[in-house]
Structure formats: structure tokens, C-alpha cells
Amino acid sequence: MKRVIRIASGLLSLLLVLAPGGVGAFQEEGTLRIGGMWALSGPAAYIGSSSNGLSSLAVDEVNEAGGVMVEGKRVKLVKYVYDDACKAEEGLTVVRRLADADKVLFSLGPTCSNVAEPVFGILQKRLGDASDTGLQFLFFTDTAIKFGLAKISPWAFRNVGNEPQMFDLTFKLVKEKFPDLKTVSVAYESDFAHSVSTWKGAVKPALDKHGYQVTEVVEWRFEDTEFGAQTTKLRKANADILVMLSHTFTTCGSVKELKRQRVKAKLMVGITSTANTETMTGCGQAVDGLIIPTNFAAINPKAKAVAEKAWTKYKADSNLHSVPAYENIYAIKGIVEKAGIKNRPETLLQDRRKVRDALAKLGTFQGLIGPIKMNGDDDPVKPRDVDKAIILVQAKGGQWTIWWQPPEMK
């Protein structure tokens, strides 16, 4: 009996692995499979859903324009999407499915850095080394922003913000515009990888560099709802600048508590992920005055049109995390059309490698609001990460307004 159960479960597993792949798919079917894994449920779902929506919009546009040219034939993009719920264990399951069962060429996502870290950890570390049995699977990440994640594997590429650079610029500008502000208090989410890395790897070095005095540092959790004790500490510190490195939900709760305890910093600076519509929906005008560095704002007609279409069609917010998902689809389309891939199940590994190598040599490609430069494998500081324009936005009257933008973009 046990043997029968074992054989049956073995067959079932085999079916599960093979069924979605189907040998007749790919080039013969006229499709090119791409993947996406984001937090589509749980507290970070509002971030992942927008990336999913923006990438769907790009897929729609590419397909409506005829698709992608592969070996002289136009094929349509087909997207396989999974929810990792911002949980590492879910992410590890999903990446195997995308790579082995769905056989996608590459994947967008993940949303959360705590998912990206272990997922990139199972990818191959040494290209072309047969003894390295890591997964040969390409990621072109749009969201997971923790500094240096792409260093983990040569298969990991990212089009995400460079937070050390973003906060360095932010405090440089703040220093120029408000030279009288000297002291800073900081609040961050100690259980959330992005928040911790932003504080330790981006904000603290920037504050030190620009000569600010940190008078208080308080912590809370990503899903906290009570901020009374921490806010009392911030009130006692009475700093000129308050740096809120917490995400939308906690930002909304904490700014209301600040108001309640009559804490009035002269300036508030927020974490990159909070520059989105959800913050305005959830916090209302309580975030008025908050300044955030970002890589996206609808500052040109093309960006405005995409943001409107994404919202109308997918209720997807266009922000620094979601817009790269849109941009990455177009970047990959350009690469695929030049890299000479075969788009067949039996050439999948070679195809992935060709696209990976081309992505590493891509150099500059066009983003929605300006050029984006992809660093190659040999970049000593941040290989396979991008450099792109930084904009500073400010919450005003329930809307994000431009606080600063590079002169060449005006």
C-alpha cells in the first residue's frame, strides 16, 4: 500500500512539474514566457500589486504592438505571476516553480528585500562553473531595494533606487536650503530589512557626512499600531528634522501620534517606499510637509500617460517601485530581439544566459522619465544595479508635489 501511495505521489509531483510547461509552448506556440513574483497579499500587497499592474500594462502594450521579434517571428509575451506574500519561504517555492515548471525566461520582482536575499542566494554564484549547482535563473528586479542585493549572484539584476545616493542628495539639499537645521531624530522599523538597511546603510552615513547631530533613534515594527512611547521620546528629543524610515501603514499611525503629542519638527524626511498614492489614501493630510527622495514622478507627458493608464486599467499606482517593472519589460524586449535567443524549451538555459550577458552589457537604456544606466558585472561597488535620476517629492494638500528635480529635467 505504501508503495502505491509513493508511486502515486511521485506521478502527481511529476505531473505538477510538467503540466504548466507543456513541450509545445514557446516559439512554436508564438509565446515568450516571462515571470513575476511579488507580495500580492499581506501588508506589502499594495506595493506588489502596483508592480504587477505596471508590468501587465507594459506586456499589453508590447503585445498590442505586435509582440517581440524572436528568430524572425513575432511572439506574444505571456506573464506567469505568483504571490510570495513578502515571505522568504514562499519566495523560495515560487522561484523554483517559475524556473523549473513554468520555464520562464526571467522574472520580475520580488517586492521585499527579505525575500530577495534568500531567493538570490539559491541562484548560481559562478557563471559557467559546472560545479556550482545554483539555479541558473535570471531576475530583473523592480522593487527589493536593500543596498547591494544584486551582488549575491551574477543572475540578479535590479532597476531600483540607490538609497545611499538618494539620501546623500536629500541631506545635501536640506543643508543648502535650511542651514539652521542641526539636529535629527530617526524612527525606523527594526523588523523590516529595507527600513533597517536604509537607516544603517543610507541615512546614517548621509547624516554623518553632512554634519547632523542625531539626538534620538526610536524603533517600531512594520505592522505596529501603537507609537505612544516612541513619540514621547521624539517629543523630548525636540530635533529640527524628523526622519521617518517606516512604510505607509506605520507612517500613517505615527504621524497622527506626532500631532497628538504636539511634536512639530521643522522638517520631515521619509523612506523612499512611502512616496505613493497609498500613503495619501491612508494618512490623509497628516503627512503634509513630508519630503521623500524617489526615482519617479509624473513629470513628463509620457510618464503622466502611463501613470493614468496603469491606474485606469489595473488600479496600479505609479511610483519608484512599480514603474521599473514597466521599464524592465521594455528593456528585456530590446535585449531579446538582439540577443539571438531560440525560445525553445531545450534552449531555455542558453537563452537565459544570452539575455543575462546582454543585460550585463546593456549600458544605458531609456526609462520613463530619463535614461537609466545599468552597471556591468565588473562594477566594483554595485554590479548589476542601475544609476538613474533622483527627484525629491513633498506631500502637500493630499498630493505629491515636486520639491526638487535635476535642472536638466525641468
Binding site: 505607509t248 497622527k256 497628538r260 488600479k315
Partner: protein, 293 residues
């Protein structure tokens, strides 16, 4: 020294006020266990779903907050009824652990349903008490916390009257004491279970409405948070004891706030769970529970 005393007192006030909310959740859990001798782990999601249902008249029809309040309570009662039906009523006798599993399933089901419908977007929840604190001498008191505290005290008084001075309360106690004997005396156990669900869910709806206002923004993760806090409170207070739940709720609130102030945020949960383990090891019957024979 004065500064220290002010800080301790301020955090004591905050802890007691917030602890009142823990106490109310604890009372809800206690009612289930006291009457049915079963844990309802879907209580947190029931409250959460009630709060979300309350958002419908607010967001879709721009209705006033009293309608939101009524919808929230009614919503919690309806969800509570569904939980009773799906997780308890048709579970055969002798399968005491089954409701534990069914309610965990229901917890996930309700939470994921809300996530799917709302895309887990945080929704602003208006606070009828405003965003200003009250000055109480040198101390600041949040009016919404004060409302929770007063509501908690009111609930305790009402529950006391209900349980000790009414026919319903006598029947409830009889079922809690010995369901078989109560049935023989003409008390419908099924009806009592349903009424207990209604009462607990209504209690949850009221406290959920208040607590959603204190949060300011709403997201589905609060269901898990309420479940954990509720379980900690009933273990510390003594499973099945309403006075125990009240004391434990207040104690938990005070410990958490003092820990956050003096030791830092990370010690909040460490101390709360150390307290839980201390009770489990040293006094498993909790503050007011009956010791196991």
C-alpha cells in the same frame, strides 16, 4: 527624579488605557471558552471583518460615523454567526480539538478574503475623537484611549449584570458549569452557544470600532495581532475568568508601555511573552483561573 516619576506615570496611564482594549478582547475570548469550553481563534478576524464592513457605508455612501459603528457591530455579529455555523455547530461531540483547527482555517480564510477584496491597501479610519490629546495636569491623555477605557469599564459592569442578574446569565452559567445538566433543565445549549457568539461578536464589534479609530489606518494584519494578544490575556488572566481577563489586559498594557519606555521597543514583546511563560510555568491557572484538579 521628578522627570522619572512623570515618565513612569505617563506610561502607566497609556498602559492602562491601552490595556483596556486587551481586556475587552480577552473578555471576548473568555466568553467563548467559559461557555463552550473551546477556543475560537477566529475571534480576531471576526472583529477585523466587522471593522472592514463598517467601512462600506463610509467609503461608498459617505455616511456618518454612527452608521459606521452600527455596521461594524452588525458585521461582527454576522461574521461571528458564520464562524459558529462553520467551525462549531456541526463538529461532532468528542472532537474537542477540531474547532481549534477549523477556527485557524477560518482565521486564514477571513484574513485572505479581506486581503483579496481590499488588496491589503491601508484605509484611513476617521477618528471621531480628533487628533488632539487632553491635558491632564502634566500628562497627555488620548481621548480615544480614554473612550476605550470607559467603554471597557462599561462593558464589565454590563456583563456583570447580565451574567449575575438575568435569566440569560443564569442559563449561560449553567451551560458553562455543566452543559448536559443544563440541557436536562430545559436550557437549549445550542441557543446559548449562539447567543454567546452574538454577545462576544457584538463586544468585538464595539471594541473593534474604537480600536480602528486609534489605529488611524486599517489593514488586515490586525486580525493576527488581536488573536495573539487575546490568547496572551486569557492565559495570564486564567482561562475562562472574566475578572482575570480584565486584570491581565491591564497588566499586559502596563508592562508593554513601561518596557517600551525604559528598555526600548524590542523589549515590549520579550517582556510580554516572558510574563506569559512565567505564568504558564509558575501559575498555569493564571491570575484568577481555577487550579486544575
Amino acid at each position: 527624579m521628578t522627570d522619572l516619576l512623570l515618565d513612569v506615570t505617563q506610561q502607566l496611564i497609556n498602559g492602562l488605557m491601552y490595556g483596556a482594549f486587551y481586556a475587552i478582547i480577552g473578555i471576548g475570548f473568555t466568553l467563548f471558552f467559559g461557555v463552550m469550553k473551546k477556543f475560537n481563534l477566529a475571534y480576531g478576524p471576526t472583529i477585523m471583518a466587522g471593522i472592514y464592513l463598517g467601512l462600506i457605508p463610509l467609503y461608498l455612501f459617505k455616511m456618518p460615523m454612527w452608521v459606521v459603528f452600527l455596521t461594524c457591530v452588525a458585521g461582527a455579529i454576522v461574521i461571528g454567526f458564520i464562524v459558529e455555523l462553520a467551525c462549531f455547530r456541526f463538529i461532532r461531540k468528542g472532537h474537542e480539538l477540531a474547532p481549534l483547527i477549523t477556527t485557524i482555517g477560518m482565521l486564514i480564510l477571513i484574513q485572505e478574503t479581506v486581503v483579496t477584496i481590499t488588496h491589503a491597501l491601508p484605509y484611513e479610519y476617521p477618528n471621531i475623537f480628533g487628533d488632539e490629546s487632553l491635558d491632564l495636569g502634566p500628562f497627555l491623555v488620548r481621548p480615544d484611549y480614554l473612550a476605550i477605557f470607559i467603554t471597557g469599564v462599561g462593558f464589565v459592569a454590563l456583563l456583570y449584570l447580565l451574567v449575575n442578574r438575568t435569566r440569560f446569565g443564569r442559563a449561560m452559567r449553567a451551560v458553562a458549569e455543566n452543559p448536559a445538566a443544563a440541557q436536562l433543565l430545559g436550557v437549549s445549549v445550542k441557543r446559548m452557544n449562539m447567543l454567546t457568539f452574538t454577545l462576544s461578536s457584538a463586544l468585538g464589534g464595539v471594541s473593534g470600532f474604537l480600536v480602528a479609530m486609534t489605529f488611524g489606518a486599517l489593514q488586515p494584519g490586525i486580525a493576527g495581532w488581536m488573536t495573539i494578544k487575546g490568547l496572551v490575556v486569557i492565559v495570564i488572566g486564567g482561562v475562562g475568568s472574566i475578572p482575570g481577563a480584565i486584570l491581565a489586559g491591564l497588566l499586559l498594557g502596563v508592562v508593554e508601555f513601561q518596557a517600551m519606555w525604559f528598555l526600548g521597543f524590542t523589549y515590549r514583546d520579550i517582556l510580554a511573552f516572558l510574563l506569559l511563560f512565567a505564568f504558564l510555568v509558575l501559575r498555569p491557572s493564571g491570575l484568577m483561573g481555577k487550579p486544575a484538579v
